[in-house]
């Protein structure tokens, strides 16, 4: 065995799993003392180019409340054709198709390198992917035009058999019929009325087939698909829809002076959810919501249409001054839950200069695994490219998206699952391995993740339940199995099974081992997720205090300052946006979010990462900062002057040109892969946009930092925030004084 570092890396590469502890304390008491719970970050659909799916179904443990999947950890009696479940120890016969099994002829799932394996299930008809565009028409003409173009473009990215639908809304909500010839037809709903799913379906005429069915002509799902006028295969309505989008007008209702346009986002979503619910329940579908402002009427209203009433801020929320907040949140949560139940995910693409109500609507995406993208305008490359990236494809030419995922966690007896944090909802499955203590979304061993992509990562928290007086036998291993069922973007149903095991260790005798098995990064992210999860539901200062009481490491300094926990200077929408992404990205990305990366480019050497500190800001450097959401290129004072002087244009300063180009290239590389597209900022010393950098670095030099003030060693930051140094000093004192 190699170092833990390598072990961790290997595990991550193979299974997409990173545990906070790679040796598990063997009793509940010891585990509690470790502060950071046994937990892991799990990326269910981690891209595994070298893992071809097997074309058969998994073999399950026959015990009703176990149903674990046959895995390499199981003991197998090849002769008796019997295998023992390593979770419940049930002995199971192999199914007839495994008759030829032997020592030398083992199925893939028994091979150790297939601790993660993917099955293709041939059950039920293949359902097409569904994309339902829900478009706000209360946009500026330019924005709307850009959005229309993006949408038209997206049609070409969709597989021909995918179903598309279009709902537009402003003061009213229009569901466009796509199959009709001649006159463009749409069904209209008033934007102020909360309708039940049944009403919506009736109004859309979706209940008729059922009636017909009752009359003795049962309809096959294909018929249902054919009869749904609102969702049609791309190849059939491509032209039609392109025209329709082209003719899309701005909301025709006049907006009086001093008013916001009336936006019925709530009803539009309700209709979208109701439409899918009625036509394609339990089928992979994306509702893609494009909004250019906050919902201003009807259910889900976030702010009134009076411009003189500003949209709620954190200040208002803390003062309990946000009138619509609770109601709207509740409304969207209900919608999100319905949508999640049916396996449909909801994306929100919000492009506006002001807030658009993401705080209230975030649950739509959070609970259904949808994306949230926030931008200033639909007419920016940030949106355009992000949107395009939604439809990016993997090495197989399939979309990097999956639908209707159900993640089930099974644990061996000493371990129970406390909960999960990520873009998922509980399925309320009370299996024996569910802990009574909840961390995150708990009380279940199954979660639904309606929208998945290869980077979707959940934090899963466990609890050691083994009592101190019942030691685990020496060399015993604890095991966890993750079973993820989902609909692949090529419409196949698949099941991916990951089974991992870790050794138990006695904390008293093997504390050193346990300590060395600690995965600092994973633990940081996992704890951060807990913090964010709490921040969503608790007061900010409380969360920080809680965090402070927990383990402290360097990055916590940045975490405290991050927008995930710190709402100062962030609108509620922005906070929601940041948190949304934080709880779903994989470990690397999460770390970037917590502690932005700062690269330095200079003539003094090759590009190098430097401390995220104000001392790193030097005149002769170009800095590239990646905070995940922003990508900032900062030209030092000198560099900026040179650039202004045009040296890079001169042949003799070719090297300068290359220096300037280097960060751009690196940034491009990041931009290529990042989803959503970060805000790309190219600035320089003294530039207004430099604030993005200055707000992130450790303010080691400030206006009241005497010894550094005015010196050449860096750029002072005008802030009252404490620097890392001060923070550490306090911390040390605290750690010593109250060793609790």
């Amino acid at each position: 065995m190699t170092t833990y570092q390598e072990f961790i890396q290997q595990n991550e590469d193979r299974d997409g799993v990173r545990f906070s502890w790679n040796l598990w304390p063997s009793s509940r008491l010891e585990a509690t003392r470790l502060v950071v719970p046994v937990s892991c970050l799990f990326t269910p659909l981690k891209e595994r180019p070298n893992l071809p799916p097997v074309q058969y179904e998994p073999v399950l443990c026959s015990r009703a409340n176990c149903k674990a999947v046959l895995n390499p950890l199981c003991q197998v009696d090849f002769r008796a054709k019997i295998w023992a479940c390593n979770f419940c120890f049930q002995r199971n016969p192999f199914p007839p198709s495994y008759a030829g099994i032997s020592d030398v002829n083992q199925p893939a799932e028994l091979m150790p390198q297939f601790s993660t394996i993917e099955y293709i299930v041939q059950r039920g008809p293949a359902a097409p992917l569904i994309f339902l565009y829900v478009v706000d028409t209360c946009l500026e003409e330019e924005d709307l035009q850009a959005l229309k173009e993006s949408l038209q473009m997206s049609l070409s990215l969709l597989p021909p058999n995918a179903l598309v639908g279009l709902i537009t809304f402003g003061r009213m909500v229009q569901v466009h019929e796509l199959s009709c010839e001649g006159i463009a037809k749409s069904y209209v709903f008033r934007g102020t009325k909360d309708l039940t799913a049944k009403q919506i379906q009736e109004m859309l005429g979706l209940t008729k087939p059922a009636v017909a069915g009752q009359q003795g002509r049962p309809l096959a799902p294909q018929d249902a698909a054919a009869t749904c006028k609102f969702l049609q295969p791309v190849h059939r309505v491509d032209m039609n829809l392109t025209d329709l989008l082209g003719e899309l007008q701005r909301d025709p209702w006049p907006v009086p002076q001093g008013k916001r346009p009336l936006r019925s986002t709530g009803v539009a979503l309700s209709v979208a959810v109701g439409l899918l619910e009625g036509t394609f329940p339990n089928t992979g579908a994306r509702v893609m919501l494009f909004i250019g402002g906050p919902p201003t009427q009807g259910p889900g209203m976030v702010v009134g249409d009076e411009l003189k009433t500003p949209i709620r801020s954190w200040h208002d929320i803390q003062k309990d001054n946000a009138r619509h907040l609770k109601k709207a949140t509740k409304y969207y949560e209900a919608l999100a839950n319905r949508s999640a139940t049916n396996g449909h995910s909801i994306d929100i693409y919000a492009c506006a200069l002001d807030q658009t109500g993401l705080l209230e609507m975030k649950c739509l995406s959070n609970l259904t695994g949808g994306h949230i993208v926030m931008g200033d305008s639909f007419n920016t490359s940030l949106f355009k490219q992000t949107f395009q990236r939604v439809f990016s494809k993997d090495y197989n030419g399939d979309f990097r998206m999956a639908f209707g995922g159900v993640l089930e966690v099974k644990t061996s007896r000493e371990l129970k699952v406390c909960g999960a944090i990520g873009p998922c909802v509980s399925l309320n499955s009370k299996s024996p391995c569910v802990s009574e203590n909840e961390l995150g979304i708990g009380g279940t061993s199954q979660w639904k993740v309606c929208g998945l992509n290869p980077s979707t990562t959940l934090g899963i928290y466990f609890e050691v339940v083994n009592q101190h007086n019942a030691p685990v036998p020496q060399g015993g291993r604890g095991a966890v199995q993750f079973v993820t069922q989902y609909q692949h973007s090529n419409t196949q149903r698949r099941i991916r099974v990951t089974t991992i095991a870790r050794n138990w260790a006695d904390a008293q005798s093997q504390i050193q081992h346990i300590e060395s098995s600690f995965d600092q990064e994973a633990a940081a992210v996992l704890m951060a997720r807990l913090g964010v999860f709490r921040a969503e539901s608790e007061e900010g200062p409380d969360v920080l205090r809680w965090l402070d009481r927990q383990l402290i490491r360097l990055f916590m300094f940045h975490l405290r300052r991050s927008p995930f926990l710190q709402v100062f200077n962030n609108s509620p929408d922005e906070s929601s946006y940041y948190r949304h992404h934080f709880v779903r990205q994989d470990l690397t990305q999460s770390l970037i979010m917590i502690q932005p990366i700062l690269y330095s480019y200079s003539f003094h050497g090759p590009p190098e990462p430097v401390l995220l500190d104000s001392s790193s800001i030097l005149p002769d450097r170009i800095l590239l900062m990646d905070t995940f959401f922003q990508l900032v290129i900062y030209h030092g004072e000198t560099i900026a002057q040179w650039r202004k002087a045009g040296y890079q244009e001169m042949a003799e300063y070719e090297n300068f040109k290359q220096l300037l180009q280097a960060p751009l290239d690196d940034a491009q590389e990041i931009l290529q892969t990042r989803f959503p597209m970060p805000r790309y900022i190219d600035t320089e010393h003294g530039g207004s946009q430099a604030r993005f950098l200055l707000s992130k670095v450790n303010p080691s030099q400030t206006h009241n930092n005497l010894y550094a003030w005015g010196q050449e060693t860096g750029a002072p930051i005008l802030t009252d925030d404490v620097s890392l140094q001060v923070f550490m000093d306090h911390l040390k004192k605290l750690a010593v004084s109250s060793s609790a």
Binding site: M172, G182, K185, S186, Y187, R190, M203, G205, P252, W253
Partner: protein
């Protein structure tokens, strides 16, 4: 009419007996006082009872009658006395007793009481006849039976006269009158000459004659008695003789036969009257009379003409005679008119307020007419007029009157009598029963009015009744609103509530504020009073009008309505001339005209904001039925061209009206037809439970700007729904949608809803099929006319608030619950059109014409109408298509040129004769170009303290309009039967009151009708028989509800033709002239004829079975009766004068009506003839409606009951 009557009356009366003549005249002229006075002097008795009848007819005939006469004479004399007494209380009282006694004696013969009655009757009858003639009263002997009793009571009831009267009355009642009347009437003509002579020769004889006449009546009366009395068969028996004598006397012997007839008829009549007997009576009546009638008819037919002829003779002599003799008396009478009200009153009063009036009334009728104050001229005029009248009227009167009573035994007799004039022969036939020709003929009345109206009608004279609606005339606005805008039931309103109550004549006005004027009459001028708005009275807010009296040199004006004095604003100041008029009086419409418009200021606008131009929204049902019937296609095709014809005020300019389109079945489809679109866009709204408008910009568009998109839409709608299988529809949400659209656009407008079926889809306003024929005739029947759900009423309220008028076009194949669906249209001033079993081919033309007219017609929106009246009366009730949120403001979301509103007035104080009664109807509305305006109509009518004046100056057509609306609304809350009874009762009371108070005393057996109301029974019968009040088995509930709503906004002309359809013989058509209509009875149809019948809703061409081939060829292009296609809806275009003229005629008919009438060709004996017969309203109807004759008898009975 009066005049005519008078003339005949006058002459005969005058001559025969001063009293008679006077009475007659008096009534006519209103010169009663004078006549009375004289009469009173000479023979008060005469005036009342015998005078009219006796003198006119009686005398002459009576001459012969003498046979019976003796006794009668005595009686008569007595009776006369009594009769007179009756009217003139003082004298009468004494005489009566005496008379009564004598009568009794006389009666003794017949029957105790009867005798007396007969006598009375006799006189009355004569009186009646006379009166009829004179006043336009109609005496029907037939009914008399009924009348007899009725009369008696009244008389008796009346203290003074009563005793005598009652007794006499009964006697005289029917029998007497009939015979007498018949005899008299008829005799008159013939006798006229003679009689006059006699009269002339000597009053005494006349008096005797009267007696004679009275005698005959008596006989009749007896008969009547029997009938009326039912109790006493003996009387009848006795009567016969008496009657014989009666008739004999009047008409000479001819009467005798009548008498016998009378007897026969009596029995029959009695039955009808009496409950049990009715059948018999009816049968006898019907059967009996018809024959007799027919028999008599021929004579009658001629009679009219002949009569005139005959009359004239009498007339002249009479006139001359009367004058000569009467000069004294007559003048007085006539003079009275001159003396006018005051004299009248005074004169009358002295005698006896009531009685005199009555007599006055009769005579007054004419007198009133007497505008000419001067005594001499008056008389002269009268006589002349009378003659003239006679010529025209005689026929009617004679015929009518004679017939009136004559119908029954008496009638026949009378007729015969008339014929007698020409030729005695008729008399005999008449015997059998009531002769239809003897009863008042609507046609005659109409034709006479036409003949009379030769000059434009000027509105300057207060209280002048305009020509009938059936007459073409020109109007000159001289300070009162044209009758095209306002027609009143009475142009002489009673001064007090008591009088009004006593008479029971409804005081109402039918107002058609935006009526279309003929091209030769200028539209109301528009007056602009500047930024401060129209000048109004400070207190009652009446608008400046000719009734405002300027005082203090013009600095202030006194309101004619409330007498409040208001400052004249400086900018409006003008000096007064020496008469107190403003110098600029004739320069300003509001000071000199009856109708004009004010420009309203922003203060008169909703929300103090000038209105937007209105919008038209077309909402088309596209469910299976609608598509299949072809309706959708037709509408869409038509709209393409129709949209160019939207209403506009300036024909040059583009219409400001915007349009929008919606189709619907269970859900609604709105269309975006914005001009910038290449294709229209459809927006489906399925949330019908909570309707809203999905778009604003692009929904209501200017036609010219969006023409291409609209045309594309209209092309595609039929295609899109060609294969629909949706059969369910909604309705409430459809109107809500339109309403919401108008709300969103912040404008008023009109919805055109094209709808096919009962809205059973789940939505607000959902209905269920509740048609239950079992309820018909029960107390629950009313529920069928009430809306099924309350939803539409509240919706209507919202619509009105927004100025959203709804026009509903229905294309039902089955029950659609018009009663409920019509709520919104009716409450918003809209119209309902119904095309049952619509089929594109046969109904397209009708539908399209209606649609075109409906879209194009001038319409005002968001209207509020307020009727202000002078102190003493106020508008208390309103009928029509509108909504009222308080008791005074009539709110109309839309008001078009075809909508009329009937307003009822009640007294809340006394009116004065000097000032009369004023009313001002102000309608605030938004014109189709979006201009806010006030249309003002002013109307002043006279006031009277004498009932006679009231009866002399009212308009039956308008009364019927009121009655029908009153009744049709009544069935919402009362059992239909009760409503019918109420109508009959009120009508009976009106006539009884007249009889009691205005008619000169005469046989109680006579039916005396005011000249102005002599058609009241026939028209009322038509109302009672209408499908709404008396449905046949094949009349659907929807039809009834539809008609009910339709009538509610009809004007007088429309109700007239609706209830009494126009039936024209078209065998000898000549281009440019209209043939004289015939009465609506099968008897009038000749097998060899072709007739055109129009009701305003239907148009029939009835073809007799034995029409000449040539005529068929000319009209249908086929010589064979059997080859006529009874499905044709338009006549073939043939190049011959007949075809041309007929098609022109049909065209002109259609042009006159607000709804297109589909032509139905009905072949005699064909099955479809049943439908046609339904409109022959003088006949018995299949649903049990009485024939005219029967109803008249019934009415007579009712009246007699009231009088007893």
């Amino acid at each position: 009419m009066n005049v005519n009557q008078h003339t005949p009356m006058a002459s005969p009366y005058g001559q025969p007996q001063p009293g008679y003549g006077q009475p007659g005249y008096a009534p006519l002229d209103g010169s009663y006082p004078a006549p009375y006075a004289p009469y009173n002097g000479p023979a008060s008795a005469y005036q009342p009872g015998a005078p009219p009848q006796g003198p006119a007819r009686g005398p002459p005939t009576s001459g012969p009658p003498p046979v019976s006469a003796p006794q009668q004479y005595n009686q008569y004399s007595q009776s006369q006395g009594s009769m007179q007494n009756g009217p003139p209380p003082p004298t009468q009282a004494p005489p009566r007793p005496a008379v009564s006694q004598p009568y009794n004696q006389g009666a003794m013969n017949l029957s105790g009481p009867h005798p007396s009655y007969p006598q009375h009757y006799g006189p009355p009858s004569t009186m009646q006849q006379v009166t009829n003639q004179m006043t336009g009263m109609q005496i029907t002997s037939g009914p008399p039976t009924a009348a007899g009793p009725g009369y008696a009571p009244p008389h008796s009831s009346q203290p003074p006269v009563s005793t005598g009267y009652s007794a006499a009355a009964q006697a005289s009642y029917t029998q007497a009158p009939p015979p007498v009347s018949s005899a008299p009437t008829q005799p008159p003509p013939p006798s006229g000459p003679a009689a006059p002579q006699q009269y002339y020769s000597g009053p005494p004889p006349s008096s005797q004659q009267p007696f004679n006449s009275s005698l005959p009546p008596t006989s009749q009366q007896q008969q009547q008695f029997t009938s009326s009395v039912t109790p006493q068969p003996p009387p009848q028996q006795t009567l016969p003789p008496s009657s014989y004598s009666g008739p004999v006397p009047p008409q000479s012997q001819p009467p005798v036969p009548p008498v016998s007839q009378a007897q026969q008829s009596f029995p029959t009549p009695q039955p009808p009257f009496s409950s049990a007997p009715p059948p018999v009576s009816q049968s006898s009546f019907a059967t009996g009379p018809p024959p007799s009638a027919q028999g008599s008819f021929p004579p009658q037919g001629p009679p009219p003409s002949s009569q005139p002829g005959s009359f004239p003779p009498p007339g002249p002599p009479l006139t001359s005679a009367p004058f000569s003799q009467y000069p004294g008396p007559m003048p007085p009478q006539q003079q009275p008119p001159p003396s006018q009200p005051s004299p009248y009153h005074s004169g009358q009063h002295p005698p006896r307020p009531q009685m005199p009036p009555t007599s006055m009334a009769q005579s007054n009728h004419l007198p009133p007419g007497p505008q000419g104050p001067p005594g001499p001229p008056g008389p002269l005029q009268q006589p002349p007029s009378q003659p003239g009248m006679q010529t025209g009227y005689p026929p009617q009167q004679n015929g009518a009157f004679g017939q009136v009573r004559g119908p029954q035994p008496g009638y026949s007799a009378p007729y015969p009598g008339q014929p007698n004039y020409g030729a005695p022969a008729p008399a005999p036939p008449a015997q059998k029963r009531l002769d239809p020709d003897a009863i008042p003929s609507p046609i005659q009345v109409i034709e006479d009015d036409k003949a009379k109206t030769t000059e434009p009608f000027t509105t300057g004279v207060r209280g002048q009744a305009p020509p009938l609606v059936t007459t073409n005339f020109q109007v000159q606005d001289q300070g009162n609103a044209s009758p095209r805008f306002i027609r009143c039931t009475a142009y002489n309103m009673p001064c007090t509530a008591d009088m009004a109550k006593q008479s029971q004549v409804p005081l109402a006005a039918v107002i058609k504020p935006l009526a279309t004027l003929p091209p030769d009459e200028p539209p109301p001028l528009v007056v602009d009073h500047g930024e401060s708005g129209p000048i109004r009275c400070n207190r009652c807010k009446a608008y400046m009008c000719p009734y405002m009296q300027f005082i203090e040199g013009g600095r202030r004006f006194q309101c004619g309505f409330c007498s409040c004095v208001t400052e004249v604003p400086p900018h409006y100041f003008q000096h007064l001339d020496h008469t107190g008029k403003r110098v600029d009086c004739y320069d300003r419409a509001e000071l000199s005209l009856g109708s004009y418009e004010f420009l309203a200021t922003v203060d008169y606008c909703k929300n103090n904001k000038l209105p937007q131009p209105p919008a038209f929204i077309f909402l088309i049902d596209v469910s299976y039925n609608a598509v299949k019937s072809g309706m959708v296609n037709i509408v869409c095709q038509e709209l393409k061209t129709l949209l160019d014809c939207l209403p506009r005020e300036n024909p040059e300019a583009e219409s400001a009206v915007r349009v929008g389109f919606v189709t619907y079945n269970k859900v609604l489809h709105f269309y975006n037809v914005k001009s910038s679109l290449a294709q229209p866009q459809m927006m489906v709204v399925s949330d019908v439970s909570d309707m809203f408008v999905p778009l604003l910009d692009g929904f209501l568009v200017n036609v010219n700007e969006s023409r291409q998109v609209i045309e594309s839409l209209l092309d595609q709608i039929p295609e899109m729904f060609a294969d629909t299988r949706e059969t369910e529809t909604v309705f409430g949400p459809v109107i809500q949608a339109g309403l919401e659209a108008l709300k969103a656009a912040d404008c008023a407008g009109k919805l055109f809803v094209f709808h096919t079926s009962l809205p059973i889809a789940e939505a607000p306003g959902k209905l269920k099929n509740r048609e239950d024929k079992k309820l018909i005739g029960t107390d629950k029947e009313k529920s069928l006319f009430q809306p099924q759900v309350g939803f539409y009423s509240s919706l209507a309220k919202e619509c009105v608030a927004q100025g959203c008028c709804v026009d509903l076009f229905l294309f039902p194949n089955q029950y659609v619950d018009v009663a409920t669906l019509g709520v919104v249209p009716v409450s918003t001033g809209g119209s309902v059109y119904k095309y049952t079993y619509f089929q594109a081919q046969s109904d397209q033309e009708r539908f399209l014409n209606d649609l075109r007219r409906d879209v194009q017609k001038l319409v005002g929106f968001d209207a509020v109408m307020r009727v202000r009246t002078s102190t003493g009366i106020r508008a208390t009730d309103f009928f029509g298509s509108f909504y009222m949120s308080n008791t005074t403001d009539v709110e109309l979301a839309g008001l078009d040129c075809d909508k009329a509103i009937t307003v009822e007035f009640k007294h809340d104080d006394k009116l004065s004769e000097e000032t009369g009664a004023l009313m001002q109807c102000a309608v605030l509305y938004t014109s189709c170009s979006g201009q806010r305006r006030l249309r003002i109509h002013n109307m002043a009518v006279n006031c009277c303290s004498q009932l006679a004046d009231l009866y002399r100056n009212c308009e039956t057509d308008t009364i019927i309009n009121y009655f029908s609306k009153y009744a049709f609304r009544g069935i919402l809350s009362n059992p239909t039967k009760a409503v019918r009874e109420t109508l009959v009762n009120q009508c009976a009371q009106i006539l009884a009151c007249y009889r009691k108070n205005c008619a000169s005393p005469s046989s109680a057996g006579q039916l005396i009708l005011p000249e102005c109301m002599k058609l009241l029974p026939v028209y009322l019968n038509c109302v009672l028989k209408s499908d709404v009040l008396l449905p046949g088995a094949d009349v659907s509930l929807d039809d009834r509800a539809y008609l009910r709503q339709l009538i509610s906004c009809m004007d007088v002309a429309e109700t007239h033709v609706f209830f009494y359809p126009r039936l024209l013989p078209v065998m000898k058509l000549e281009s440019g002239s209209l043939p004289v209509a015939v009465r609506d009875s099968e008897e009038r149809l000749s097998k060899g004829g072709v007739y055109l019948l129009e009701t305003g809703l239907h148009l029939f061409l009835w073809v007799g079975a034995s029409v000449q081939q040539e005529l068929l060829l000319n009209i249908f292009g086929t010589p064979s009766f059997s080859q006529i296609d009874s499905n044709m809806t338009s006549l073939p275009v043939l190049d011959n004068p007949i075809s041309q003229a007929l098609r022109e005629l049909i065209y002109s008919f259609r042009a006159q009506r607000s709804r297109y009438m589909k032509l139905m060709v009905v072949k005699q004996e064909d099955r479809a003839e049943l439908i046609f017969r339904h409109f022959l309203v003088e006949d018995k109807s299949a649903s049990g409606g009485a024939s005219y004759v029967d109803f008249l008898c019934h009415m007579h009975k009712e009246i007699r009951q009231l009088l007893s």
